[in-house]
Amino acid sequence: MKLGRNLYAIVTGIVAFSLLAAGLAECQQSGIAAAWQNGRGALRIITYYAGAVGVIWLGWCWVRLARAITSIARRLRTEQAPHFESEANPVINELTGAINYCLEGDSKLIGQLQEQVKDLQIQTQLSERQKRNTEAIIYSLRDAVIVVDEFDRLLMANEAAGRLFNFDFKSARHKAVGELIDASKSEFVDLMRQSRQSKVEAKRCQLEFTDEAGPKTFDCIVSCVHDQNQAVCGLVAVLHDVTREKEISRMKNDFVSHVSHELKTPLASITAYSEMLVDGEADDDQTRKEFYSVIQNQATRLNRLIEDILNISRIESGLTKIEKKPVSLTILIEEQLQMIRNYAEEKNIEVVTQKPIVYDQVYADKDMISQVIVNLLSNAVKYTPSGGTVKVEIVVDEIARVAQVTVTDTGVGIPRDEIEHVFDKFYRVGANKSQAKGTGLGLNLVKQIIEKVHGGRVFVVSEPGVGSTFGFEVPLATRGAVKVV
């Protein structure tokens, strides 16, 4: 610009100089007086000089304008406020005024554009951050998440989805899900296809897949992603593993079913016998007595059953009040033996005890451990035929700091395939069921009290036709606690 301006000044100078020279030459050629007398000569001289002055003025104006334009350009480049001070010359003022007017309009537009650019940059940063947050959430989810585009090509999948469908997301990206997912899980691909076709917001169903760990159930939700024309441009699928929930629900239903069966059985006897009495079906006193006795026994059974269910439920839910203090196992066993001895004598069963001489105090809830001992003793006597023996032993292991109580009988024993279930709720050994009455909850209560309340363990060893040994192990109390309860 500067070069152009200088070049123009030089050209202007040359032209002006030429005109002045021409004017002088005209004066010299005919003399000034003659030239004035000759009207045409005077006009030429005036024209030459006026032309020279005009060229010089135009040159000066152009240089000023060029400077103004240069300044504008500089200011635009440096992003300064594009307002230009006018010079004294009115033409320049007019020109610069017009330019300023245009530039002020442009500068507003530029300012708006600059702000929009800044807004867009901020929005882009926020979107990026949101995208990263969403990705972090999706990747950290334990549920499997899969996102596909309008052509069912994989856009996003988290680790859980990769594990479930056995693919690596990085290498699987942009591949069709139909190719990625194994034929055994084609139900899921079908569900996505149906969702796309139906165009509904979300489709939900339960799918069952089987892998090395066994069958697993998933609660699957497939949602359509719509574009501005309401066309489906993608799908998001979330698969939540509900195998455990289903198992818990099944166990709960089984428990309710068991409880209702166990409660209804004694209730059926009570209802039937009382109706027979009311209807006068018991002919004589002896029959009536027998009926009353059945009703009483079944009511007791019902009460025991309810107590056992409530005790187990309280222990499982942690609501039971536990009062642990140092107690002597020998004393507790002696107390419970007093209660069971008459029953054993009726059945002609000998009860033998082996008491330890050493310190046998355990830190326990006295009532609960008493319940454990009486359950094990009564079971042993119940399933031992007449003439048999029940032996109670206490073994103290000072090194391991545990006390072990075992109750060994010479009873019917438990078949090998049933032994692992004997501590289960409501489980009763099929072959021995007719031998004695029971709720199927006694041993489960033993397990709950020992393992859940006292941090010990229960065990059983048995041989059908020879007998069984049921036992438990609980931690010893510290020697400082000497008060025997």
């Binding site: 079913s257 209804k264 059985t265 209802t271 039937a272 069921k433």
Partner: protein, 130 residues
Amino acid sequence: MATKKVLVADDEVHIIHVVAIKLRNNGYEVITADNGAEAFALACEEKPDIVVTDYQMPRMTGLELVERLRQCEQTKDVPVIMLTARNFAISQQQQEELQISECISKPFSPKELLGNIEDVLHQQAVNQAI
């Protein structure tokens, strides 16, 4: 009219006892079993006119017992009344397939059970007459 023979199968001795008394007091001959396997053997041997069985029994459940009865030539047409303490344990389809005449929930009334036995035997007599 000849005395009708009823086989009562239940692992609860008190239930067997009370049903037996009710039926005997009303002129029926009663045979009993405390498990499914014994009940099946007894049914084949004694050919009862009707079987009253519990759903849940050791060695062979009530349903298994009925399946075996339907497979055996001698007992395939014997009417069966099922007692159950588990509601919805038997579906309508199972009941129809195994031709179980009635399903009675525990606790039950011995009087109503007697009424059901009479109805089923009467229906069977009508069917045979036709």
